[in-house]
Subunit: 201 residues, 2 copies
């Protein structure tokens, strides 16, 4: 039946192109659009175009922004000598939720992955080196906060080798058991890393 309602299946197909949206969810969302008020549907369409048009990369940290320079790079109260390197804009979102971090960011837009044909020159690493090289804004420490996966580790290693000779301290987020988790369900590697990184209480 859905294929009979051409404009509905076309809309479902568009939803299905978004990351993590399966066929069933896409169809459910398409139906849901039909239940919106006419004005709401127009606002939705406009929001898609607006986001696409206005959002670009911050020329400093490469994070997404709809201003000339993103609000974090523009914030005088943040520590510009401290840079947290992350894979994507979503990771910035996660870090900012903590509200404890007062440094800046650098978004790589990917991780080094020879398996997927992603080499360092496809990431925003040149832009990071330019920041480290800028004599007006010296960088003291770079926290590599890429995911604790094979690609995340490889990227961290690569950056560390690249940056240490430039006199920058390179650190990595601590590994360990997630707060509130049950030890029983932690995998062995996490437990091993948690043990390795143990601290006196």
């Amino acid at each position: 039946m859905a294929e009979y309602i051409e404009s509905l299946s076309l809309l479902a197909e568009k939803f299905g192109r978004l990351e993590g949206v399966g066929k069933k969810s896409a169809m459910r969302m398409a139906f849901s659009v039909l239940e919106l008020e006419h004005e709401e549907a127009e606002d939705f369409a406009r929001a898609i175009l607006d986001a696409k048009e206005k959002i670009h990369l911050c020329p400093i940290c490469q994070n997404l922004t709809d201003r000339e320079i993103c609000p974090i790079c523009a914030d005088e109260n943040r520590d510009h000598a401290l840079i947290c390197v992350v894979r994507d804009a979503r990771a910035v979102l996660a870090m900012e939720k903590v509200r404890e971090y007062r440094g800046t960011y650098h978004v790589l837009h990917g991780l080094i992955s020879p398996m997927n044909g992603i080499s360092p020159d496809q990431l925003k690493i040149k832009e990071l080196l330019l920041r480290v090289d800028d004599p007006e804004h010296p960088v003291d420490e770079i926290i590599v906060a890429t995911n604790p996966t094979v690609e995340g580790e490889a990227t961290a290693m690569y950056l560390s080798k690249l940056l240490r000779p430039l006199g920058v301290q390179v650190t990595r987020l601590a590994y360990g058991v997630p707060v509130g988790a049950d030890l029983e369900y932690a995998d062995e590697i996490t437990l091993f890393r948690a043990l390795e990184g143990r601290r006196e209480v």
Copy 2:
């Protein structure tokens, strides 16, 4: 951070208005829109407006369609003396997947629910009676295929009382254990209904 990228959070908010989309999924989809090609984003926006503009209710069965009369009602090869009554357009979709049903449909656009303040006159029941009353297209049987929930049952009961006096056979989908399911996980009411409806093999 997301609140800083105004156009992104606005877009996420629009996704969040759709049924079954939580805050996290909405944000993930908004980010995902940014990764679309410019043209794809424009197509997406247009698909929303198109669907909203072109899709209306079939004047006969009240199902969603972008034609004057929906393809099922317009199909001469289907049995117009048999009407399957469903809650919404999604149920039609589910039934059509079976490919065994060759009758027509009638979409109620809801179920009777005094708890939620939904009374029979808010549903497309008048339109169903008009179809039953049409001497040019006599109706033999109405299958009430509303969900096996309290509201679905109440609606089935109501329709049955309304339609039987008009000389129409009113039936209900069979209850039972879902094919491929494990008896261990079936609830007691389903098992009881399956037992009640047992058949000789």
